[in-house]
């Protein structure tokens, strides 16, 4: 029993901290205190994750499973939450939504993500998904007086509920086919009795629910509107943390059913087709956007496509590539959204033309944005390149060279719209005089940018960690 607590220490710590935050916020109603308290919370949870990092195994009647994958994923969620918390102030103040609840909701949503990453049972997976999503629905609609924010929340909520329905129905069918809810138990039953059509239908529905969360084509339609309408820091959080959590869930499902999925042509070609569709639709649609937030939304669809290439490749190589990619993607995408948020808080619009001449006024912000854009475009020696390299290498290793080729060509298209941002910032003169202040948040972003450069040049240790995580994760 004590061991159970130890194994799920990060989740329990997070739960306790959420309660603490709610109580403090209710009693004091001082958002600044809630903010710093939640930052302390991130540090405490991170410390507890470090403490149990080497621990593996099931806890609480095989409901939760701690593994290196889930610990690693926890770091990604915490990183995403912490960075967003650090850069939100100015934006929230400007939009008059500076509520303590903002931070509480973010923390609750991270709790859901952690449950998703360490779920050993499909019921826990569902609880995690819902915990995360409901908090995100609220974050999307935080700007109550803004019509677009309302629309975003409504759209996200309605479509998200549909996706949850699919997900739940999938769980029911898999349960019907195998009589089990725990993932590893299902594997045992499948090995004994083989797969049935019912199981495959169930698995497809389950995956649709998760593909919705990563906004893979054709389940992506909500993404641009929601990202555009939601408060920008919240969009940054949704596009990174939530996506990483959904990918962690996909990996945990796919690696549990590895015996059935590996070498299954239907599965890998279905995922490959979705990956191709996401890469093409995301990149081509991003080309024609005039609005930066919408461009980033479509680009996040494209990036989901790249990560799905790793899932389609399957095997330890593909999965560890995806895990590394989630970390890199979190850093660079949060970075990009944060720059948008900071500039929005300074009164700048979010279309390309509004960014003209930013370099002159704030070389630091323009410089870090250039690093984020180049990394998203996948130029070495930045981390985004290593991420793409790993997923494409996994695809070629799995004999899917065509998929890698489509991937690289799609990513060549993407360079155009990332460069457009830089053209505006560095090479155009502003229409009207800009008045920008460089706030403390810019320093956070400089650190994120530095991390991207360092992860690109010295990725070795992190890569070792991700491949070790998968190795251990595959062990029964």
């Amino acid at each position: 029993m004590l061991h159970d607590f130890l194994l799920s220490l990060p989740i329990l710590t997070t739960t306790l901290w959420v309660v603490l935050l709610i109580v403090i916020e209710a009693l004091l109603q001082r958002h600044i205190i809630t903010k710093y308290l939640s930052l302390v919370g991130f540090a405490v949870v991170a410390a507890s994750t470090v403490y149990v990092f080497s621990e593996q195994g099931f806890a609480f009647s095989e409901m939760v499973r701690a593994s290196t994958i889930s610990h690693f994923a926890n770091f990604v969620f915490l990183l995403s939450g912490a960075i967003v918390t650090l850069i939100s102030d100015r934006y929230l103040e400007e939009e008059r939504i500076w509520f303590g609840e903002y931070y509480v909701m973010m923390f609750i949503s991270i709790l859901g993500m952690m449950l998703m990453a360490s779920a050993a049972n499909m019921a826990v997976l569902f609880i995690g998904l819902e915990t995360m999503s409901i908090a995100l629905y609220i974050l999307a609609g935080l700007m109550r007086r803004d019509r677009r924010s309302n629309e975003a929340a409504m759209k996200y909520f309605l479509l998200g509920s549909f996706a949850s329905g699919f997900f739940l129905y999938g769980i029911a069918l898999i349960y019907g086919a195998t009589g089990e809810l725990a993932l590893h138990r299902i594997t045992e039953v499948l090995q004994l009795r083989g797969t049935s059509p019912l199981f495959w239908i169930g698995l497809s529905l389950l995956m649709i629910g998760l593909f919705f969360k990563i906004s893979a084509v054709p389940f992506h339609q909500w993404t641009p509107d929601v990202y555009q309408g939601a408060p920008t820091p919240a969009a940054a959080f949704m596009s990174t943390g939530a996506k990483a959590a959904a990918f962690a869930a996909i990996i945990s499902v796919a690696s549990n059913f590895a015996a059935q999925l590996q070498g299954n042509l239907n599965w890998s070609s279905a995922v490959a087709i979705i990956a191709v569709a996401s890469m093409i639709v995301g990149n081509v649609a991003a080309l024609v956007q005039e609005e930066l937030k919408r461009m980033l939304a479509y680009s996040s669809i494209a990036h989901a496509g790249y990560m799905l290439v790793g899932i389609a490749a399957g095997g330890a190589e593909g999965f560890s590539a995806v895990i590394y990619y989630t970390l890199v993607y979190t850093l660079m995408n949060i970075g990009a959204f944060s720059v948008v948020a900071l500039l929005e808080a300074e009164g700048l619009g979010t279309s390309y033309s509004d960014y003209a001449g930013v370099f002159k006024k704030s070389p630091l912000l323009a410089g870090v944005m250039a690093i984020f854009m180049l990394s998203l475009a996948g130029l070495p020696p930045l981390a985004g390149f290593i991420g793409k390299y790993k997923v494409f290498a996994a695809a070629i290793s799995a004999g899917m060279t065509w998929l890698a080729l489509i991937g690289v060509l799609a990513s060549a298209i993407s360079a155009y719209y990332y460069l457009r941002v830089m053209v505006s910032m560095f090479m155009r003169e502003p229409d009207q005089p800009l008045n920008l202040r460089t706030s403390g948040s810019a320093l956070t972003l400089a650190l994120v940018a530095l991390a991207i450069v360092l992860l690109g040049i010295f990725p070795t240790e992190i890569l070792k960690l991700t491949s070790k995580a998968i190795e251990l994760g595959f062990a029964p």
Binding site: L379, I386, A415, R420
Partner: protein, 503 residues
């Protein structure tokens, strides 16, 4: 270790530039000093180079860079072929930095990117790991993008975007090739993915795989070269680029170098079987580049197309598969870099001082600018291949090699591209005449001749041209054994007996 220091010195030193943000003259001085020290280190490497041995100054670090499942590492070394280009690059960057003294906008950033570019290019010439090579090759786009986009001409943003998109598309395809070769390399590396160049040399690929890889890699290099019909980016980028001299001097040499280093060495059989086809494209490039150059009124575009024409010669020399032509290629790379580089510098000065790109707006400048006029004349002569100057020996060796090349099969290639030499006179002499002789317009009298700094640059480059022209062996002796080794490697490789017959 000394090699690694030389490569990264410019980039690491460049961060200090921002300390001089308020004293821009010091920033310039500092940047020039850094390139000077780098050049000194390059000379040091050349003096300690053993012309008989293969790869030298090897430095390996970061083993298992991307985890234990792949043999990827930081590995640099120089052989005869790369040494010549490496030292030449340090030389050109020194002059490039000096020539950029006139930059006034965002000085620190400009030199930051220039020094970053130097590191990338030195890395390209020194990398002996395919993956590392790819990183430098792509990273080069970042400083180039900013240099063109922020300090270029009026249509700079479009030119910069065009440049990156062309290069990125081509080289991303190469990335697939790199990974593919790496997986192929497993058989020579005990079942582990490898991008180690030395190990990959021992690889025996099936012919059809070789063909695919030849084109995957080739596409990237042919775009960069630029070979007809993939040359469409070149003129725009050159005419908007602030560093035209560095661009032609060094950047364009990366692709011919890579063709020898990777396409020929790793896929010899496919290279041999496609030699006639590439030869035809090379001849077209020579003639097309020269004829389009002859029709240009814009000076920078004219020079851009003349470089395209020169590149055709280089590629013809590479695919002639003979020792002479390979030696000629190395010499010609340096020679055309110097002559076109100097022409670019002078034209850029005229454009900057007078504001017109059209050569018909100039005339009779010899009176006010005697120094520039004579420098231009020398460079133009070197560019059309006058004996005694840098262009001649290289051109001569390439044509000899191509004439008796068995891979190409016929001397027709050489004969046709020799017409390119004549065409070069057709566009280069009128340009010289138009600019410096004849009637001078009143408005032009404000143009001033070289100042001391410009005179130093021009003199250095002219001395280098004379040196290459009069003592070509001082460079060729370094590359002789590498060229021989390359050709021997190619002869040894083909599996089918009848292919060896063709040498």
């Amino acid at each position: 270790m000394i090699l690694t220091i030389t490569i990264f010195l410019p980039f690491l030193a460049s961060f200090l530039l921002f300390a001089f943000a308020r004293a821009e003259r010091f920033a310039k001085l500092y940047a020039v000093l850094v390139t000077l020290v780098t050049f000194g280190l390059g000379l040091f490497l050349a003096l300690n180079f053993n012309a008989e041995a293969g790869f030298q100054f090897q430095h390996v670090a970061l083993e298992q860079w991307l985890g234990s499942s792949a043999d990827i590492k930081y590995s640099v070394a120089l052989d005869g072929l790369s040494l010549a280009l490496f030292v030449f690059a340090t030389f050109m960057f020194m002059l490039g930095a000096l020539a950029s003294w006139s930059v006034e906008k965002s000085v620190c950033e400009y030199f930051f990117f220039l020094l970053m570019l130097e590191t990338c290019i030195l890395g390209i010439f020194a990398a002996t790991d395919l993956f590392l090579y790819y990183i430098f090759w792509e990273a080069m786009l970042i400083p180039m993008y900013f240099l063109i986009g922020m300090w270029g001409g009026a249509r700079r943003a479009e030119a910069a975007t065009k440049f990156v998109l062309y290069m990125l598309t081509a080289s991303l395809v190469m990335l697939v090739g790199v990974i593919y070769v790496g997986y192929m390399g497993r058989e020579v590396n005990g079942g582990i993915f490898t991008t180690d160049y030395q190990k990959l040399l021992a690889l025996r690929l099936p012919f059809d795989v070789e063909q695919i890889l030849f084109w995957i890699f080739g596409l990237s290099f042919f775009v960069k070269s630029p070979l007809f019909p993939l040359h469409t980016w070149a003129a725009d980028v050159y005419s908007e680029s602030p560093t035209g001299a560095v661009l032609t001097g060094v950047l364009l040499k990366m692709a011919p170098y890579a063709l020898v280093r990777f396409n020929l060495m790793l896929f010899p059989e496919a290279s041999l079987s496609y030699a006639p086809l590439i030869g035809v494209l090379a001849v077209i490039t020579v003639l097309y580049g020269a004829s389009v150059a002859a029709a240009q009124r814009q000076m920078k575009r004219l020079l851009a197309f003349s470089s395209v024409s020169h590149l055709g010669f280089l590629i013809l020399g590479i695919f002639a598969f003979s020792e002479e032509s390979l030696q000629g290629v190395i010499l010609y790379m340096l020679g055309s870099g110097l002559s076109t580089g100097l022409l670019f510098l002078i034209v850029a000065k005229l454009e900057q001082d007078y504001g017109s790109k059209d050569m018909h707006d100039y005339g009779g400048l010899k009176k006010t600018m005697p120094l520039a006029a004579s420098a231009f004349l020398v460079a133009a002569m070197a560019s059309v291949g006058l004996p005694g100057l840098s262009g001649f020996v290289g051109e001569f060796l390439i044509l000899i090699g191509a004439f008796k090349s068995q891979a190409l099969g016929t001397g027709l290639y050489a004969s046709l591209s020799a017409i390119g030499v004549i065409l070069a006179v057709v566009y280069m002499l009128p340009l010289t005449q138009r600019l410096f002789f004849g009637e001078m317009r009143q408005a032009l009298s404000q143009l001033r001749d070289f100042n001391l700094r410009e005179a130093v640059i021009a003199t250095t480059m002219i001395l280098a041209m004379l040196w290459l022209g009069l003592m070509p062996n001082s460079v060729l002796k370094f590359s002789a054994s590498s060229s021989r080794a390359t050709i021997e490697h190619l002869k040894a490789m083909p599996k089918q007996a009848e292919r060896t017959q063709r040498f």
